[in-house]
Symmetry: D2
Subunit: 178 residues, 4 copies
């Protein structure tokens, strides 16, 4: 494979090329916890995807790669639409400064967060949604839980790669430390 | 005036009592810059009140005191409704952490921000609004300006007490440094 | 008591006057979690005061009122010195934007945080200290715990008024969600 | 060039490979504005590198790539040491959440920030330094300016690719909007 061949489709990559690039540089991701807010702005529910990732049932956030020449806002909107459907009406943040940066590494991870495919640097957001959400094709369901329900040990145990801690952090950020 | 008289109406104060209290402790305020966002979350317009404060025409943010036993979210919503009307549909932030804290002092101010009435500690927010806004009774108008228009010297000069710098800070926070 | 008597000592208040003012307006506080950082900026230890507050042993943060005409930075430094001694060498934050705002109310509290004396609005900071800390006079000790130790149920149970949740939030903010 | 050859030196790349990768994915950067703080935490001076980049004299922040399998904190410390020398004694932030994310694109840029080499996603920090700073080898000097000096039009004009706006944003973040 020769990456230097002039490319008709800049930013597009075959799976093989992406595999190679993932061994060379950290990959930029955006991750969002969709939430429903009450009129005062308090989080009433959080939306968690339930996927059958490699046979194992796991909880997931909205998550996806930022593509070459794609802005963070465009990547957020594209991934929210991919995971929640076109009618979710997400409210993108006025500032792109994330509330946290998650660093994923192949095990053994230096951060506690693992992703066997890659070193990923994920910008973390909490995104209010106002519309109707539908789970993405490969997800079994999208469930809405109260913050208290989401922070039970049984739900946290359904996250993999340390992502349960990210849920705690997201909820701490919006004022739920429990 | 005896403040120790049992109070039927806790948290309510006469203007005289408020005058006295303002000489004794810093007063908590919330201030919000109302903005309109495009679908990607970029600020397309900022809403500025134009008031005849003491005969002088000045620009103002949405601003108001947090009352005794009132939450920050309730104070934000109450003051947004007072200044923008009941149909503004503001989107309160998921986190109450402000992007900045403004400290107002009677002149000579230690912070560059002045308020002759009091020492005020104001929690600063950028609040997207989706509905129809109507200026409050004592305001001559509510005008919507693009960030570039709002940051012209002539508009900044219409703020008093250093508040033009707060507008710059708010716009820098959402990615406009110009 | 007549608050309108011209005051030689502006901002000073008798305990009686402070008692009265606390029934009328929210009181501004600064609160800081002192931390020790390793060279990479990771929190290696958190400093918790252990006080005998009304006979009961409780954990406490560095905490204190912002006085009339005092800046937030000056209040932070004064309270850090009061609670940690003059050799603590705290590193005040470059930005005064707090990572969270804690709202204390007399019970029944609307926020889960209680303070029977008052409605307090506390700006929350994590403050690295580099020097030698000595507990304040009314504190039995200042103990340094690793984040993992601090987040054990037995330590969290030693906080009162919901402050254990603030510790969780502070540690989540610096990347410890556990 | 075949990227799939097993690599003895994971994360290392030839300049040619880096050139290729830059056409395929956004590259993660950390950028820091070094500052000197007074005892109250106010920014008294900002450190700006002055480099002869391609013959043109330009101002620059501390800036560098996050390498594969390198943490953000390690990348920050490595780049601060590269640009300010080993005795700078930088105070890394307790939280890795940046105050802003800068998005650089080859012209025409969608963000106003340009970098002809690549699409870069830069995490932005303000980093207090306490020690002695020495400019890096390819820099002509490291100059310390007051915030007011740094925000003059003549200094801002010495930045390229829109980076002057980032300086404004950084100073707005720490309370200087002027």
């Amino acid at each position: 494979m020769n990456l230097r061949t002039p490319d008709q489709n800049p930013g597009w990559m075959s799976e093989d090329t992406l595999f190679d690039v993932r061994q060379l540089v950290p990959i930029v991701y955006v991750e969002a916890l969709p939430v429903r807010l009450d009129p005062l702005g308090c989080v009433s529910e959080v939306g968690l995807l339930f996927t059958a990732d490699g046979g194992e049932m796991t909880r997931a956030f909205v998550s996806g790669r930022v593509r070459h020449r794609e802005t963070i806002r465009a990547a957020l909107l594209r991934n929210l639409e991919k995971d929640l459907g076109p009618l979710a009406m997400p409210q993108l943040p006025a500032s792109t400064a994330p509330y946290a940066v998650a660093e994923y590494f192949p095990a053994p991870s230096q951060s506690g967060l693992t992703d066997e495919r890659q070193h990923a640097v994920a910008l973390e957001y909490v995104v209010p949604v106002q519309g109707t959400c539908t789970p993405r094709q490969d997800a079994l369901e999208l469930s809405w839980l109260t913050p208290d329900e989401a922070l039970t040990e049984s739900v946290l145990a359904e996250f993999t790669g340390g992502r349960g801690e990210l849920l705690r952090q997201a909820l701490a950020h919006v004022g739920w430390g429990r």
